[in-house]
């Protein structure tokens, strides 16, 4: 006896494309061909940026380890502010860091 499942699976029920199908596909292809090619990802700039970040992080860590008390002396002027309120100390530190970072690009283009 033939396998009934096999018979049903092998049976064919073809679907005819609608009359405008091929034209619709070609219209979509033309639209796509008319679009400008996608911008390539700027890998070179990305890698330079990552490299610079790693360099800065390394330099910062080295500075931190080698400075010892000198770095603490650097932030010593913030101590009175921190005494008034710890959150003010953090805010002042963030402001100082922002000011430094804002000057960095200008310093680099000189």
């Amino acid at each position: 006896m033939p396998d009934e499942l096999e018979r049903l699976l092998a049976s064919n029920d073809p679907l005819e494309p609608s009359s405008g199908f091929a034209a619709g596909v070609m219209a979509a292809v033309r639209r796509q061909a008319a679009e400008p090619p996608p911008l390539p990802f700027p890998w070179l700039r990305f890698l330079v940026g990552v490299g610079a970040c790693l360099l800065l992080a390394g330099a910062g860590a080295a500075l931190w380890l080698s400075s010892g008390d000198a770095l603490l002396n650097l932030v010593a002027p913030l101590a009175p502010v921190e005494a008034a309120g710890p959150e003010l100390g953090y805010a002042a530190l963030a402001l100082a860091a922002s000011a430094l970072l804002a000057r960095l690009p200008r310093a680099l283009v000189r």
Binding site: M1, P2, D3, E4, L5, E6, L8, L9, A10, S11, D13, P14, L15, E16, P17, S18, F21, A22, G24, V25, M26, A28, V29, R30, Q32, A33
Partner: protein, 197 residues
């Protein structure tokens, strides 16, 4: 007709590919005209919905157009195009989940098995085809492609990108799952399911 070029790349296909790659966009119309039925019917087997099948087939043609430069002519154009379409359909089904199939006859068995006794052969076939779509993707793809390729094991394995032995195992497991799920449906036909070869 697609059938003509099923087992090997035709000269027409290779010529049209060369023309498209040389900048003649309109040559792609020849590829669409020759292969629209094939891609549409493969999509139809994956979704059982005409509108969705046409949308999926159009998307597959667009992907084929975009990646036409990757066709080296080593494999038959039909195999390459079917693989592109298959990957496109699988991605879409993965992203959107299985298609909404309306009232599923196989699921209805659990509620009212007696209601299926008077089903016509076409309805039974449709229920089995829908049951295939509810199989795990690896078995669904194996069964859909194998029967779409008219049971050509080597070509089906090539299109699926798996070894023939792997395809055989998936077909066996997929059929077993189907048999279990559709057992009552088949009993209504008076022709019990038997172990396939």
């Amino acid at each position: 007709m697609p059938k003509k070029g099923r087992m090997g790349g035709t000269d027409e296909d290779n010529a049209d590919v060369a023309r498209v790659l040389a900048g003649d966009l309109e040559a792609f119309a020849g590829i669409v005209r020759r292969w629209q039925s094939r891609l549409l019917n493969l999509a139809w087997r994956f979704c059982r919905d005409r509108a969705m099948a046409e949308d999926m087939a159009q998307e597959a043609f667009l992907k084929a157009y975009r990646s036409l430069s990757s066709f080296r002519g080593e494999a038959a154009f039909s195999s390459w195009l079917t693989s592109v379409a298959l990957n496109s359909y699988r991605s879409r089904l993965r992203a959107e989940g299985p298609p909404l199939l309306g009232i599923d006859l196989v699921q209805a068995l659990a509620v009212a098995p007696a209601a299926l006794e008077g089903l016509h052969d076409t309805e039974r076939t449709e229920a089995v085809r829908r049951a295939v779509l509810l199989l795990p993707p690896r078995y669904r793809d194996a069964i859909v492609v194998f029967y779409f390729q008219e049971r050509d094991l080597a070509e089906s394995a090539r299109i699926l990108g798996i070894a023939e032995g792997t395809l055989k195992a998936r077909l066996h497991r997929g059929r077993e799952l189907l048999r279990r799920r559709c057992a009552m449906l088949m009993m209504g036909s008076g022709r019990p399911l038997e172990q396939g070869t």
